[in-house]
Each structure stands twice: as C-alpha cells, then as structure tokens.
C-alpha cells in the first residue's frame, strides 16, 4: 500500500543556501514519525513544503499514492492536514472555544447565519467534547487564552489541530517550552491521536521523547534525509551519530535492514 503522504526529492534554495536538497519523506496512516536533525537541517522547511506554506523548486508529493501539488495551507487543511506551529498561532485575547473555531465558525441556521451570526452553543459543545476526548487540562472555556499557562495553550493548539485534521498532524517542537508533567501530557496526547488513526509528524530536539513516542525516526542533515530508523532498538547515541554524520556507514546498514 502506498504511504499516506510521501515526498520525493524535494529541493528548495534561498539564494545560495540549499535549505532542502533532494529531501524525501514518507508517513503511513496512524503512524508517529519523528523528524529530527540539527538546527538548520531543514526540518521546519520540509514541513512548510509538505503543508503548502513554501513552494519547492523541484520534487514530487504523493498523497495516498496519487501525485498532488499543494499550493496553500488552506488546501492542506482541506486534505486533512494541520500544523501546530512552535508559536502556536493562538489569538491570546480570545477564549479556547473561539480559538478552536477561528476561521471555521459554525453559522447559525437560517437568515441570521447568512448575516454572520455564529452558533456559540454548538461550538462550545463541540469544543468541550474535543477537550474531554484528549483529557484536557484546560480549566476555563471562557477565559482568554493569553491568561493560561504554556501547557494549557499547547493543549488548545493541539486540540484545535486534531479536531480539524483527520489524516496528519504536524507538531513543530511541541514540548520545547514545557515542564516535565506538561511534556508527559503532550506525549500521551500524541499516542491518543495515533490511536484515533491520525498520523503524527513530530519535530523535536529531545531524543528520549522521540524514542518514547515515535514509530519511526527520520533524520535530516544539510537539507536531506540521511536515515530512517525504527524507534524500537535504536539508541540516543545512534540518533546523534546520524544527525552529526559520525555514524554514516552504520546508519546506512541499519536503514537497509529496516526497509
């Protein structure tokens, strides 16, 4: 069966800098794939290219086996892909419900709906259901998001993404700013999302977290994928070695075994 989303040979240059150099990527449905690499390895650029935020110079994308070209983030959303950005992209003055439905408000029925009135009750009920499903730690649905803790904001951003994504969620460093318990919550959330059958792409610098939740790990260096490893049986040292290039020969062997 073809992968859910596959990229082959993506390249993109910014002036003289080759941010993506023949980079490939693939993810199956219901799989957690971690994307790791040193700063500037092209992880975020790859995610942008996969979600219609950045046009590429060359390369192909395949979605469920069929070739696609994704021009806009909106198009990616319609295909069932959502991104949780590092800065979360929440509106701090709006409450969790308003944030969750921002840009996707449920209109009221009839004339009022076409005048732009919103069905607040229905939105709130749906949002509460979404948070309950993930065992949310959000305490108030009427307080502005800006007054909440980092962990809660992260949760809101993730719930928003998985409420709209039915295929793939991209998480860009979701645990970078979180404490121990909040991090554990996010990792648990990722597992629950996977159990719902949604694929997760996890960008992270934290090797232990990656090994804990990912099914496969794709390692990027200098704008290209240098290795793909199963999380099972891989050590932090091997990951670091592949990231820095110190273990090139070994990772290639492992890659052959894995495929």
């Amino acid at each position: 069966m073809a992968p859910l989303l596959e990229a082959r040979g993506l390249s993109r240059s910014f002036g003289h800098v080759r941010a993506l150099d023949d980079a490939s990527f693939d993810i199956e449905a219901g799989e957690v794939v971690a994307l790791i690499g040193d700063n500037g390895a092209g992880k975020s650029t790859l995610v942008k290219a996969l979600t219609g935020n950045l046009p590429v110079d060359s390369g192909e994308l395949y979605f469920e086996g069929a070739p696609v070209i994704i021009h806009t983030p909106h198009q990616a959303s319609e295909m069932g892909m959502e991104v949780v950005y590092q800065d979360l992209a929440l509106a701090p003055h709006l409450n969790p419900v308003q944030n969750m439905f921002l840009g996707r408000e449920i209109p009221r029925k009839g004339l009022l709906g076409s005048l732009g009135f919103m069905d607040e009750k229905q939105m709130r009920a749906k949002a509460e259901a979404g948070f309950a499903e993930l065992g949310g730690t959000v305490r108030s649905f009427s307080a502005p998001v800006g007054a909440m803790s980092g962990g809660q904001r992260q949760q809101i951003a993730i719930v928003r993404a998985i409420s709209w994504a039915d295929k793939i969620v991209f998480l860009d460093e979701p645990t970078a700013a979180l404490g121990v318990v909040q991090t554990k919550n996010v990792l648990d959330t990722i597992k629950r999302v996977r159990d719902k059958g949604i694929a997760v792409v996890l960008i992270s610098h934290s090797m232990p977290h990656v090994l804990q939740v990912a099914d496969r790990i794709q390692i990027m260096r200098l704008g290209t994928r240098v290795a793909t490893m199963p999380a099972e049986g891989t050590t932090v040292e091997q990951l670091v070695g592949a990231m820095t290039g110190a273990l090139d020969s070994q990772t290639v062997k492992r890659k052959e075994k894995a495929s």
């Binding site: 979360l88 701090p92 709006l94 009135f117 730690t137 305490r139 318990v181 648990d188």
Partner: protein
C-alpha cells in the same frame, strides 16, 4: 485519563470543569475596564448631582449632553473596530468634513428642501466616507504602510480637498428637512440625532460581539499572523474595517449637517483625537484584540458630562481638558498593567482589579 498529579503540583494539572457561571461573570466583570470606567462615570455624575442638584440631574441637561456626543458616538463605533485591529484612524474628522462638503454640494445642485434632496446628500456622504475608508484600508493592508501614517496623510488630503472644493467657505445649503429632523423630531422621547447614534451603537455592538466579522476583528488585532494561518483573509478584513470607519464618518457628516445646518470645515480638527480618547478611555486597547462598544459609550459620556457639569457648577470649562487628559492617561496605565500581568499568567493584577477581586469574593483555594 492517565494523568498522575504529584503532590504540590500546580493547579494547572487538575482536570477542572468550568467554575459556576455566576461567579465567573462577576469576576470577568470586575476585570473589564469598561465596568471600572462606568464606575468613574457614576462617581462623576453623583458628584455633580450633589453639587448642583436637579439643575444637573435633569432630563434637559442629559438630552443636551446626548446631542453633543451624537456625532462622536457614530464615529466612535468605527474607531472601536479600527483600534481593536490594533490600528488607528486619524482621518475621521477630515473625512467627515469632506463628506459633508460632498453632501452639501449634491444637495445644493439638486435643490429643494424635501427628503429626496436630503437622501441624495446622505447617499453622497456615505459613498464618500466609504471610499476614503476603503482607500485607507487598501494602503494599510496591501501597501503595508502603518495606519498612523496612512490616516495622517488622509487627514491632510481630505481636509485640503474639502477646502479646494469650497474655497474654504462653509456651504449653508442644507435642506430644511434635515435641519428640522434635528430640531423638532423626537423618537421614543429621545431627540433624533442621539436616537440615530443609539441605533448605530446597537448595530455596531451586535456586529462586534455576535458576528464572524466582529470575531475576526478581534482575531486580527490579537494575533495577525495566527489569523492568517487559520485562513482568515486579513487584508480584506482590514480594508472592510477601515471602510466601516469611513462609512461612520460619512454618516457623522450627515448628522453634523443636520445639527449645524452648515458644513464645519474648520470645526473638526480635534474630532479624531476626542473620539480616539473616548474609545481608549472605554477600555478598548490601543494594542488591539480587546474592547467593546459599551466601553466607547461610557468613554464618550465622561468628557461630555464633565463639560456640562463644570458649566453648571460654575467651574471654567477649560478644566474639562485637564480632567479628560488625566482620565485618559490613567485608563491606559490601568490597561497596560492588566496586560503585563496577563502575560505573567495572572488574570487579576492591577490596583483596580485587586479591589475588584475582593469585591467579587474570590473563594480561597
């Protein structure tokens, strides 16, 4: 749920369902700047009432006050939207003058004193206001020029063109139907101009607080990039918001014509600043994302009540400026400290809000 909460863990981790709605309303109300400023207004009214008695607290006095702020109230609706997007519109006074000149010219050429003449003028004023607003919005959203600069330019250009069109001399050809509307007509006991303003305020409030348009206005001011990422057409929305402000200036032009029976070319040079001050006093944050039409109404009444009160009590009206300026600075100070505290994660930080927490009887954890 498999969340383990170690002892001493922050309340962050507890799965707590919404606190009872009534208490949360009280607490939210205590946090709203417009509620505090309403308290200030009540204190001012009480003080003047104590000092001047029924002379101040009379229907005729408040009828006069409401007539004085009718035009500003209409402008304030548009300005509230603009400031919530973290923008500013300095051009409203000049756009008002330009629109009133256009309307007066149209009515002059149509001739007559009936409502058809007035309707032509009203249409002209609205079109002219919307055109100025849309131009402002286009330059701000598409050309990415800061709103302060764009509308400062429009302020100068619109006033200049109005003077070119008239040679700097006010046009007095306002049909009687329009001036009579101001002088004689009362709707539900309210003089006509404040009544029109009230309608505009109510519609503005509903649009801002209940519709998608209003929600996007907050979202753009709160996090423009975030709004773009969820698919909101931010550029189009900004153009619409500035066009709305222009439309309000156009309608304000009609009301001013009805009120004064003449264009007011030289009379609107401080209108923009007075309206901005009222909006900001009413708790609309100059940094965007926060504000209400109700707050703007309260913010309009404070200077007007001070002025009327000073006249009645016999204090020189010049003190009004001193008082309004002080209230403005204090209001923004409170707003800022609330924001800073919100960033720190606490919801009730400032001096005022601390008092509010005591009043709302926060349950001890």
């Amino acid at each position: 749920m498999s969340v383990i909460t170690p002892p001493g863990q922050a309340p962050d981790q507890q799965v707590v369902i919404e606190p009872p709605a009534r208490q949360s309303y009280l607490r939210r109300a205590a946090n709203l700047q417009s509620v505090w400023i309403l308290g200030v207004l009540v204190v001012i009214i009480a003080a003047f009432s104590a000092a001047a008695g029924t002379k101040f607290l009379s229907t005729s006095n408040f009828s006069l006050i409401s007539q004085n702020i009718a035009v500003w109230a209409v402008l304030g609706v548009g300005m509230t939207f603009v400031i919530i997007t973290s923008g500013i519109d300095l051009s409203i006074g000049s756009v008002l003058v330009f629109s009133s000149v256009i309307a007066a010219k149209i009515m002059e050429s149509v001739g007559g004193d009936g409502w058809s003449t007035a309707a032509a003028g009203i249409g002209g004023a609205l079109v002219s206001g919307i055109a100025w607003g849309a131009l402002n919005g286009f330059l701000i959203a598409k050309a990415k020029i800061p709103p302060l600069i764009v509308t400062l330019g429009a302020l100068s250009v619109a006033l200049g063109l109005a003077q070119v069109l008239t040679g700097g001399i006010d046009i007095r050809s306002v049909p009687e139907s329009l001036t009579d509307f101001n002088t004689y007509i009362k709707i539900a006991g309210i003089p006509a101009l404040p009544f029109v303003a009230l309608i505009v305020l109510i519609i503005g409030g509903i649009v801002l607080h209940k519709t998608k348009f209003g929600r996007y206005t907050y979202a753009v001011g709160s996090n423009e990039l975030g709004a773009r990422r969820v698919g909101i057409n931010v550029d189009r929305h900004l153009i619409q918001v500035y066009a709305l402000s222009g439309a309000c200036a156009g309608l304000g032009a009609v009301l001013a014509l009805a009120q004064f029976g003449t264009t007011t070319i030289a009379g609107q040079s401080l209108t923009n600043l007075n309206v901005i001050a009222a909006v900001v006093i009413g708790g609309t944050s100059i940094f965007g994302g926060e504000g209400s039409i109700f707050g703007t109404v309260v913010g309009l009444f404070i200077p007007a009540v001070l002025q009327a009160g000073f006249v009645i009590v016999g204090v020189e009206a010049f003190w009004q400026g001193v008082a309004v300026g002080s209230v403005l600075v204090a209001a923004v100070y409170v707003d800022q400290s609330r924001r800073a505290a919100a960033l720190r994660g606490s919801s009730r930080p400032s001096l005022f809000a601390l008092l509010g927490a005591k009043k709302a009887k926060e349950p001890s954890r």
